[in-house]
């Protein structure tokens, strides 16, 4: 059954986040041969429309307004709902990002529809679109379908492969004028804490520290390794509770759930609550002094040793590799 599917492109610092392209790929699956309409919202974002087309969108609708320069649930929901009203999609896909998580329930509630959040996979099976999503922070999975109304889902970054970019693809980029009004939340200030590094939820490589890092400064060797690998730094609850780092870095059942290509756990014992947040990473490396540490049970590769010795050695080794391959 061919469907028209609306896909939200997400812009950060003037460029499209990767999850936008992943959403297009998911939208294609949901469309079953129908049309994928991308939506771009912001102050000045129309120039990015072409890239959405190149990644597989059939057309793009842009809503631009000074009041949309920053995300607010009121402003963005007015914009999205106006596009929905114009396009009447039968499917909607957002990224399961801070923005998508905040916006999608409001839009679903307005439309009085269901919403499948945080899908990591989707497929057509037995006449249904079946979404796979982790529950209990990845300790289990469920397959879920929409039983009535619009098929609305958010997809977890880094899980659905984007389509190959095709620079010869063309499509219409149109703009829709929406009267954005009555914003009830006003952003006064944005404090960039994560800007120095790569965002945890989208990182392909994560170097995480636990109680074994021993202090705030103990994270420095981890940061250096992350820099060399273009990755992000994360932490276990133990490290956060001990005040070695900010809670925004916490990975686990409370905290973020991540699925990078490579997860290097340094001085992390591997409590169940932490494993829930990272055990679905593609490749896990554990570095721990204690050979009995539970983390070795989920690791693909382990080194029994002091992280303060091993991590700098790893950094050097990867640096050499970079030099020789460039």
């Amino acid at each position: 059954m061919a469907r028209k599917v609306l896909v939200l492109g997400e812009v950060r610092d003037g460029s499209l986040r990767n999850v936008s392209f992943e959403a297009i790929a998911a939208g294609k699956t949901v469309s079953e041969g129908g049309e994928v309409v991308a939506v771009l919202i912001g102050k000045s974002v129309s120039a990015l429309g072409e890239e959405m087309i190149q990644y597989g969108a059939d057309k793009v609708v842009v809503v631009e307004d000074d009041k949309l320069e920053q995300y607010t649930s009121d402003g963005y929901s007015q914009a999205v709902l106006a596009v929905i009203d114009q396009e009447k999609p039968e499917g909607i896909i957002f990224g399961h990002t801070a923005l998508g998580k905040d916006l999608s329930p409001k839009v679903a509630s307005k439309l009085s529809t269901g919403l499948i959040s945080d899908a990591t996979d989707l497929e057509e099976a037995g006449g249904n679109l079946v979404f796979t999503r982790p529950i209990y922070s990845g300790k289990a999975f469920e397959k879920k379908i929409v039983t009535g109304g619009v098929i609305f889902a958010t997809i977890r970054p880094n899980n659905i492969e984007p389509l190959a970019k095709d620079e010869s693809r063309t499509g219409e980029v149109s703009s829709l004028s929406v009267d954005i009004k009555d914003l009830r939340t006003i952003i006064k200030e944005v404090v960039r804490k994560a800007s120095e590094g790569v965002d945890l939820s989208e990182a392909k490589v994560i170097i995480a520290g636990g109680r074994g890092v021993k202090s705030e400064d103990g994270f420095n060797p981890l940061k250096e390794l992350a820099d060399v690998l273009g990755g992000a730094v994360g932490a276990s609850r133990g490290a956060c509770d001990a005040d070695y780092c900010d809670y925004s870095l916490q990975i686990g059942q409370t905290g973020k759930v991540v699925t990078p290509d490579l997860y290097i756990a340094c001085g992390i014992s591997g409590a169940i609550q932490h494993l829930a947040g990272m055990s679905n990473s593609k490749v896990i490396v554990a570095i721990n002094k204690d050979p009995e540490a539970n983390i070795f049970n989920v690791a693909d590769y382990g080194i029994v040793g002091d992280l303060f010795e091993v991590v700098p050695m790893l950094t050097e080794e990867f640096k050499k590799l970079k030099v020789s391959s460039s």
Binding site: A98, S117, T185, I187, V191, S248
Partner: protein, 257 residues
């Protein structure tokens, strides 16, 4: 100030998950207040202590959720409401829960609603914003700080590691992120007092809702456990040789670098 907390009973984070007859097995499992909702309860108590008023904790669920409601009362909440759907609903989804909560809250005088930003079991994080939308009040999710000064509310919100400082007003719904506060443990006198605090139980009928109106819009067709990971390779030998081997394995065997 009339403060409401939306609370969910969840599995303890240290519980292992197993499956029985296609469902998550609950036998012998420990249940707790969803950890993010615990931050919401704590914040609600602090707001009440600073500004006066009353804290009511509300949950949608079955009889067994009374235990978690009593815990919230023991922490210091004033009243609890259990919207018992045991007899009426086989299964619900976030649409169901949000509609029930919003329907109940519409009939109350509400200044501030607090909830967890996500439940650690279902993990969808939809109910808070859905309830706010249905009550037509603003909401801010994943907050780490809340300051109320008359009608003006200043909230700090965690956005993937960055912080946003947001100004808004009451009535308002916020969802708690880790770092908002340190939830207190119930004290012994608190536990004693909680036994006498009001815990009302209502059913869908009592709040004029029909089962059909809250019928789920999504359906779970299968629950399964992730494939068990085989124990990996713990490297041996001199440390520098291990490090070189690891880099080579990541590059040539795992192909992630």
């Amino acid at each position: 100030m009339n403060i409401y907390v939306l609370l969910k009973r969840t599995f303890d984070t240290e519980e292992k998950i197993s499956i029985q007859n296609g469902q998550i097995a609950e036998d012998g499992a420990e249940f707790i207040i969803n950890p993010y909702d615990e931050y919401a309860v704590e914040e609600a108590i602090q707001v009440r202590d600073a500004h006066g008023g009353e804290v009511t904790v509300v949950t949608v669920g079955g009889e067994e959720s009374e235990k978690q409601l009593r815990t919230a009362l023991a922490m210091g909440a004033d009243k609890a409401v259990l919207i018992n759907t045991e007899d009426d609903l086989d299964h619900g989804d976030q649409f169901t829960t949000a509609k029930i909560l919003a329907h109940y809250l519409k009939e109350q005088e509400v200044d501030l609603i607090l909830a967890g930003n996500v439940a650690i079991d279902g993990g969808s994080g939809q109910v808070g914003p859905r309830v706010a939308e249905q009550l037509d009040i603003p909401y801010v999710t994943t907050i780490t700080k809340l300051e109320i000064d008359g009608g003006t509310v200043t909230v700090t919100r965690d956005v993937e590691g960055d912080s946003e400082v947001i100004e808004t007003s009451l009535p308002l719904l916020v969802t708690a992120q880790q770092g908002l506060n340190e939830p207190r443990y119930p004290s012994l006198p608190g536990i004693m007092k909680a036994k006498k605090k009001p815990l009302d139980e209502v059913e869908l009928d009592d709040i004029d809702l029909d089962e059909d109106e809250v019928e789920a819009k999504t359906k779970t067709i299968e629950i399964y456990l992730p494939p068990k990971k085989e124990a990996g390779k713990v490297l041996e030998g001199e440390l520098d040789a291990q490090v070189s081997e690891l880099v080579s394995l990541l590059r040539n065997e795992a192909k992630v670098i």
